[in-house]
């Protein structure tokens, strides 16, 4: 009987211990997960007196206002330990690479204040900015405080046009003036003007300061033919914008429409028909000498001249795919009688059904 009661007592102790372990575990499972999503706000504090460390941020949002593209901006977030135990900052986490939090120390006595210093380099893209940082601490009720930095990356210089369309037959390739304007009214000078292959150049006085410049570019036709696509970089002395870029394209003699042949949902050995037109952008009469495919995936079904343009009917037969290769490529080369070669890339993406089929096998 004595032995029986010993067993009963042992079982009661084990049962009780397991129950209490379960009861301790349960709140942890139901505890709300730390907020890791952008846009979350600082957790609301319940109105109960809590012992332990407690973090209070003076102003969890900092607005930089308007920032120049690429500019470096700094701000500080002040916080205070309003609890009654040592506040330990575990980490200051950021959601993106644009901010660098720096903390001089990690432990704060009750009543002690600290500062999170943030350096933010603005992107070169204009637009609204909203970034988040999180202070992780041993404050049990508010273990992750969200800090937000806001602002707007605003252009300080405007350049027009942003792209030049050059035309071979027009005088000076039809190049329009380039206007550079200071949007913040701060005067600037032009330091340098450079273009791809030096095909576009301009006269300017680097000592002249103004809020607006209208440049009259000159075009070297021979160089432009060698560099039909490129860009112009104009270096400035403006305090927040050191350069502007203008892209240019020369209207080529021939246009291939569409310029690339794209096949989605391709299946091996299942041919697709496509139509490709070749025309002269300058209205000149022309003859096509030959047309051929590099890999034989593109087959020319017919070729005819319609109203001064050439129409090609093509058949694209995707090859068998090895090792679940996702794409196939080929190139159609069209040779014009005066020697100019036009290249038309063909790119095919195999159907995803194929993946499933092969996986099932």
């Amino acid at each position: 009987m004595k032995r029986f009661f010993q067993i009963v007592v042992i079982l009661m102790v084990i049962g009780g211990l397991l129950y209490s372990a379960g009861a301790q575990e349960q709140p942890q499972a139901q505890k709300p997960a730390p907020e890791t999503e952008a846009g979350s706000e600082q957790a609301e504090m319940p109105e109960v007196v809590v012992l332990g460390p407690k973090i209070q941020v003076e102003n969890p949002t900092h607005n930089f206002g308007k920032m120049a593209p690429g500019s470096k901006n700094k701000c500080e977030f002040r916080f205070k330990n309003v609890g009654d135990d040592v506040l330990k900052i575990k980490k200051v986490k950021k959601t993106c690479g644009c901010t660098v939090p720096q903390l001089s120390k990690k432990e704060y006595e009750p009543g002690e204040s600290g500062t999170v210093k943030v350096t933010y380099r603005a992107s070169k893209r204009a637009g609204a900015v909203s970034k988040h940082l999180y202070i992780q601490s041993n404050d049990k009720l508010n273990p992750k405080v969200t800090l937000t930095i806001k602002g707007e990356v605003a252009k300080k210089i405007n350049v027009e046009p942003k792209r030049l369309k050059q035309i071979l037959k027009d005088e000076n390739a039809g190049c329009p003036p380039i206007t550079i304007t200071s949007l913040d009214k701060k005067p600037f000078s032009i330091k340098k003007f450079k273009s791809t292959g030096n095909c576009i150049f301009v006269d300017f006085d680097p000592t002249e300061k103004a809020q607006k410049f209208v440049l009259e570019p000159k075009v070297s036709m021979a160089k432009l033919r060698k560099n039909p696509n490129g860009r112009i970089d104009i270096e400035l002395t403006h305090p927040s914008t050191d350069r502007v870029t203008v892209n240019y394209n020369l209207l080529s003699r021939f246009k291939v429409d569409p310029p690339k042949i794209i096949v989605f949902n391709a299946e091996p050995q299942k041919p697709t028909k496509k139509e490709v037109w070749v025309l002269n952008n300058y209205g000149e009469d022309f003859e096509i000498e030959s047309a051929s495919s590099e890999k034989g995936i593109i087959k020319i079904l017919s070729q005819e001249k319609v109203d001064g343009r050439y129409k090609f009917e093509l058949e694209i037969t995707p090859p068998e795919t090895k090792n679940l290769r996702k794409i196939f490529t080929d190139e159609l080369t069209v040779r014009v009688k005066d020697g100019e070669k036009l290249r038309v890339t063909c790119r095919g993406f195999y159907s995803r059904k194929l993946d499933t089929g092969q996986a099932k096998k």
Partner: protein, 460 residues
């Protein structure tokens, strides 16, 4: 007495078993919560039953602007098409709608056109229900004759482009909700083409089921927001451009939510719709696409295809180049060694000297956007063209910071190296070198290759 004892033992035994079960259940619940947090599927919400019809989830992305995956130049970068599956699959396919609001690329350069095709294919692989083409996307689709092709991969709407292309301006999908269905209609609006007052044309009346109307607008200023709200037709206004991160812009009016989708695919916006006291309730959150999310193999393979196309199209050699002033030319770091052997030897132990190899490791050595920051002088004639043609100009070398050196070499140092000299921030940008801003001194320390007592003369 014996019977009483047995009853007592039985009761204690039951208590013991209950205790065990309770403890085990608690442990497993805790583990599930923790796992959900670790794999990035946002907190406890990821634990909802996958086939529950109590809510529907709409995932929204947009403004990829050519960013298919983070460059990987520094840790902690967000984004990557290949990591989105992990987020989408946290909700059963039948209970979700996935939308991209467009702006796949920024320009119509050769490289961006390649990216355009790859992103369209990626949307198909990721099971997107709908893509709304931006003005630029629409121009590209039209110039490449690709409208039909894109529609064969994913449903397409657009507020731009010609009607001749057969474009649609709205799309509806019915999703199971509670005991019936809910019709989600997504429309795209270009306010220059259609006044806000006419948006009712974009949304059909749903008599027999609940309906949610989403409107995608490019230029979301306060006037447009208030005009759309006044119409009382739209439940959620999606601002497809603007903010760099997804964010609620306005939730001040009941039953009308305005939010942005962010840029560069760093986040996936999630809109969960449920019913609270007979009314539809909207819960918006932005899920970061973090490095610890698993990559989908099909998307990884697609990115490799992109790298292959970039190589085959020879984009590196086609890169437009400026002419160096005054006949200057690059000579390569090796040529500096004869006189500056101390600096050369020091430099060769630093990360800059192995910059090109880091690209080779990830297969990006043919991608101009990456290569430009891992070689000497790619912006200029006589600078890096390819590994075969200009092997001496691989890596971030002497002439990046000190300027082209051929003349300096020929004159045995009499001619000083001059511009163009690159500055650190040309490559250490916020997107590619997250930790650089504010840590400039630490970074300078990493590349110190000059004699400390002669630092003034040797620094660029």
């Amino acid at each position: 007495m014996r019977l009483l004892s047995w009853i007592f033992v039985l009761a204690v035994g039951c208590l013991c078993v209950l205790g065990c079960c309770f403890a085990l259940f608690s442990c497993s619940a805790a583990t599930m919560t923790e796992t959900a947090q670790q794999d990035g599927r946002q907190s406890s919400s990821a634990l909802q039953p996958k086939d529950s019809n109590d809510s529907i989830t709409i995932f929204i992305t947009g403004n990829e602007l050519g960013a298919m995956k983070p460059c990987g130049c520094s840790g902690g970068q967000l984004g990557g098409l290949d990591r989105r599956t992990a987020i989408f699959d946290s909700v059963a396919q039948t209970n979700r709608l996935i939308i991209d609001t467009g702006s796949f690329v920024e320009t119509d350069s050769s490289q961006d056109l390649v990216k355009f095709n790859i992103i369209v294919q990626a949307l198909g692989l990721l099971d997107y229900d709908l893509a709304s083409l931006s003005e630029k996307d629409s121009e590209i689709a039209e110039s490449l004759g690709m409208w039909d092709q894109i529609s064969s991969v994913v449903n397409v709407i657009s507020a731009y482009g010609s009607d001749a292309s057969g474009r649609q301006k709205s799309f509806t999908k019915n999703l199971p909700f509670k005991d019936g269905t809910i019709a989600v209609t997504v429309a795209a609006l270009n306010t220059e083409d259609m006044p806000v007052g006419e948006i009712s044309e974009l949304f059909e009346l749903q008599d027999d089921c609940k309906a949610v109307n989403l409107l995608i607008v490019d230029d979301c200023d306060s006037d447009i927001i208030s005009s759309v709200a006044e119409m009382g037709i739209v439940d959620c206004l999606i601002c497809s451009s603007g903010n760099d991160e997804p964010e609620v812009i306005d939730d001040s009016q009941e039953g009308f939510l305005v939010f942005s989708v962010g840029q560069l695919g760093k986040y996936v916006s999630r809109l969960r719709i449920s019913e609270v006291e007979g009314e539809l309730a909207y819960d918006f959150s932005a899920i970061p696409v973090t490095e610890d999310l698993p990559q989908a193999d099909s998307l990884v393979q697609l990115y490799k295809s992109y790298q292959q196309i970039v190589k085959e199209e020879n984009l590196l050699e086609q890169y437009p180049r400026f002419v160096l002033p005054d006949g200057l030319e690059y000579a390569g770091s090796e040529s500096c060694r004869i006189c500056h052997w101390y600096e050369y030897d020091k430099w060769s132990t630093k990360a800059h000297a192995g910059a090109y190899a880091t690209l080779e490791k990830v297969g990006s050595q043919y991608d101009p956007e990456c290569v430009i920051c891992h070689v000497v002088g790619m912006d200029y004639q006589s600078g890096f063209v390819s590994e075969q043609e200009t092997p001496d100009l691989k890596n971030v070398g002497c002439e990046n910071c000190h300027g082209p050196g051929l003349e300096h070499n020929i004159t045995l140092g009499e001619a000083l190296t001059i511009e163009p000299k690159a500055s650190c921030t040309d490559c250490h940008t916020p997107d590619h070198s997250a930790e650089y801003a504010g840590n400039e001194d630490v970074y300078l320390e990493k590349i110190t290759h000059w004699r400390q007592n002669d630092s003034v003369n040797n620094q660029p």
